[in-house]
């Protein structure tokens, strides 16, 4: 039963990732593009967690922690750059 649910969750997050790529390619404003990138990072974290369940190892959690940190920093620095024209004042 876990196997079927895992496959379903993989499909959902994979489809979500494709939709995010579509949004990044044609976004109406630049804020939407940043939002889609941020969502993409979160979906990638979810995919890595699911992959950890599939493989039964804890190695992928280190990777998803790193991706979470870099995703947060990159989103903040994008938005800071758009707001202030400068990242570190």
């Amino acid at each position: 039963m876990i196997g079927y649910a895992l496959t379903f969750a993989f499909g959902c997050f994979g489809l979500a990732l494709l939709l995010n790529i579509y949004r990044i390619v044609n976004a109406p404003t630049v804020g939407d593009r940043i939002l889609a990138l941020d969502t993409m990072v979160i979906n990638a974290i979810a995919l890595l967690a699911l992959f950890g369940i599939l493989e039964g190892t804890a190695v992928y959690f280190e990777a998803s922690m790193l991706i979470a940190m870099t995703g947060f920093i990159s989103t903040v620095s994008y938005t800071r750059y758009l707001l202030r024209g400068d990242i570190i004042e």
Binding site: A16, T79, R80
Partner: protein
């Protein structure tokens, strides 16, 4: 058996919420509406996936791992911050200050107030006066 059902339910719910969040940023019409979908639904989706992972490692493989809790905590702390910053970007790039609804005071929206204007208004005496006025 119960654990299997719990893990499968969390996985299915997390998948549905993650998909809804990503459909939301494509379907919703307004930038501020589009901001809601990923910051709420996708965060809940990834939280469900991490809860399922925790339950699986604890009860099926028999070894507890608290990495998922750390990731969940980190995501739940940072999602509001990124949402706030992206909302500010939408405000500054997509709206003029005079299009926004009135704030109910003579000061502009906080995001548009210049640092000099804010410093001129928010002296320590005025802060005390504000507290006294609100206490009435």
């Amino acid at each position: 058996m119960i654990v299997d059902i719990l893990i499968s339910a969390s996985l299915v719910i997390s998948g549905i919420f993650g998909l809804v969040g990503s459909i939301g940023i494509i379907k919703l019409p307004d930038p501020m509406m589009r901001l809601h979908a990923p910051t709420k639904a996708t965060t809940l989706g990834v939280g469900g996936a991490l809860i399922a992972s925790m339950l699986y490692f604890e009860f099926v493989l028999g070894r507890f791992s608290f990495h998922e809790l750390m990731i969940t905590l980190f995501l739940f702390l940072t999602a509001p911050i990124t949402g706030h910053f992206i909302a500010k970007v939408h405000l500054h790039l997509g709206h003029k200050p005079e299009d926004l609804p009135p704030t109910g005071s003579d000061r502009p929206w906080a995001s548009y107030e210049s640092d000099a204007a804010r410093a001129a208004v928010e002296t320590p005496e005025s802060a005390v006066n504000e507290v006294a006025r609100k206490g009435e």
